[in-house]
Amino acid sequence: MADGQTNGKTPNLDKLDKGPWPSFVKEIKRAAESSDMSKDLLGQLELSYEEKIGHWKHGGIVGVLGYGGGVIGRYSDVPEKFPNVQHFHTIRVNQPAGWFYSSDALRTLCDIWERHGSGLTNMHGSTGDIVFLGTRTEELEPIFAELTKEGFDLGGSGSDVRTPSACVGPARCEWACYDTLNLCYDLTMEYQDELHRPAFPYKFKFKCSGCPNDCVAAQARSDMSIIGTWKDDIQVDQAAVKEYADQGLNIEKDVCGNCPTKCMDWDGSTLKIDNRVCVKCMHCINAMPKALRPGKERGACIMIGAKAPIVDGAQISSVLIPFLKMEPPYQEIKDLCEKMWDLWCDEGKARERIGEFILRVGMANFLEAIEMEPSPYMVAHPRDNPYIFYDEYIEEGDDEEEGDEE
């Protein structure tokens, strides 16, 4: 084994600090100038590039006092070579919803991290947290103290509520059908305990997108996906539509032709939409932002169950409540969550996401347990197999009228 790392050389990684795309190697090297931890990270990473294998060990349970999550423990499996990354824990810091910062706020974070860690971050992690990448166990409490002093707190990890996230929404988007940032913040504050102290069978993620474009990929990645939508008619400015046409947009082909339900009609001068057939897919609005807007009766569709494939296969969230008006304090959503969580905590298996739980017990049983009426909005189509578990039948001698529960 060549040992580029021992003599401090990193020939493999050096090849990646050039090129048009901003380089992570440059970042590590920049941090390495003032941090031995980052220097050893660079060395260990070079070793991984040579050997084609990672050098991290399973993290034990590390964290801050009174919290069960927010820190991912990491240890090098070659500490003799890279003593400064013997510990290399990450800290998940809960981001402000929408990821809006001031330069001062960012500098404050940088300063804390410079004092106590590698100086390397992820802005941001896939769940949405600010990720402080690499520190030692003994630094955790001091970092936590400084963070909270500055108004920051930790995000989730383990079997708890994970850091909720939201699309930019009303802060900068004309299509936001509800206040994604406010809901995200409200849920985060409401569930601080569930977020910091893992007590679920497995993780539970919230993501809030203001419209069906789903700019935080909630439907693919969150156990509860809250997707903005509207109930009434798309708002149409016919003159503006005409203008798009005049500027050369092929409305017939590119707009109507791409409507999934073919519910639009363009006669060259006016655009007709059959709003009862429209599925609120956003395409026509996306194509003509100046001419079309979502309707006025706005709210959100509450969807459940998205997750990555481990181990029963990936799921995209499915509809639980087709439309809900969204007003603080969002009581219906909270009541729903608490009902679902109680059930899931009682009956869910360890490492069983709620989407997997629903598949195991059956959607109908799940709905009955959380006292929700079944609705055709929940399904793409009714069952196509005849294997129905009828739960009532008449027995000899029964009064024909009333079947008796089995």
Binding site: F24, Y101, H283
Partner: protein
Amino acid sequence: MSQTQRITDIGPPRYDKWFPEVIKKNYGKWKYHEILKPGVLMHVAESGDKLFSVRIASPRLLSIHTIRDFCDVADKYCEGHLRFTSRNNVEFLLTDESKIDPIIAELRALGFPVGGVGNTISNIVHTQGWVHCHSAATDASGIVKNVMDALCDKFESRDMPGKLRIALACCLNMCGAVHCSDIAILGLHKSPPKVNHDLLNNICEIPTVVSACPTAAIRPAKVNGKDSVEIDEDRCMFCANCFTVCPSITLNDPLNDGVSIWVGGKVSNARHVPMFSKLAIPYIPNNPPYWPEVVDAITNIVNVWSANANKYERMGEWIERIGWPRFFELTGIKFESYHIDDFKYAGLSFNRSAHIRF
């Protein structure tokens, strides 16, 4: 110090704490937007106010020094206001249109491409890889760097058929939800787990390990005197769930770990309902530092798509229109038995109609 003195459970800063004035004033009152040029969005409020967002690429893995550089730029042009996107790009928020070109020049000078807006390729959502995760079958940042070096000109343009979302996950846990991306790069193991029989019983619960396996490939067994487990290689599908629950089992294997390529997923409800990514290339060996085979494979798929897709057609929508046989034909990718599903819902992935394109 005792828990009482400590500040806990305060949650994150409120989202509006660092809003620019123009957002505070026009919150929820935006009327429409326009893309002025690559990477530059103009949002116009009902009040007539305008907000300009200049988006730059980010490696996501950022040193505090680079973040401070961003802060300096933000101070100089944006009264210190900036944000990050859900795909880890950075957006500088301006109200003074005249500052757009200067800030772009300065950001470029710092080495950050401006773009990713509109119908084009944005940043690659990715994960930790060898930089931080014990579970990684490949590196994340390295592949992303190489792929985006090759696609950077597209990031800086805005003339693709539709949005193209690329994601990378370094193991089957799929942090970052690559399962619904136009193109997904997925690190994977393809050799069976190795068990440290001496340690296993001290560190892990054997029943937990056995039950962690979805294919029942793990059986309790005595190995040279020690209680441990044995693995039925033919039943193993390399999911690494056993490793996740038990450190003394490992799947990491420099000889066999590599990546697979998946295509045609999407998340948005625009036009087509959300779709999963489907297998395109089952296995490419890890070849750091450049991963040339991965870069070529993706560049090829991107080029074939952008040359053939209709306006607005995402990867998956395009393939649905032309059919999978044509996709394999046009990309020159070989269709193998690995492409045919044999998991839970396999039966529903067969072509159960005579709808065929010749």
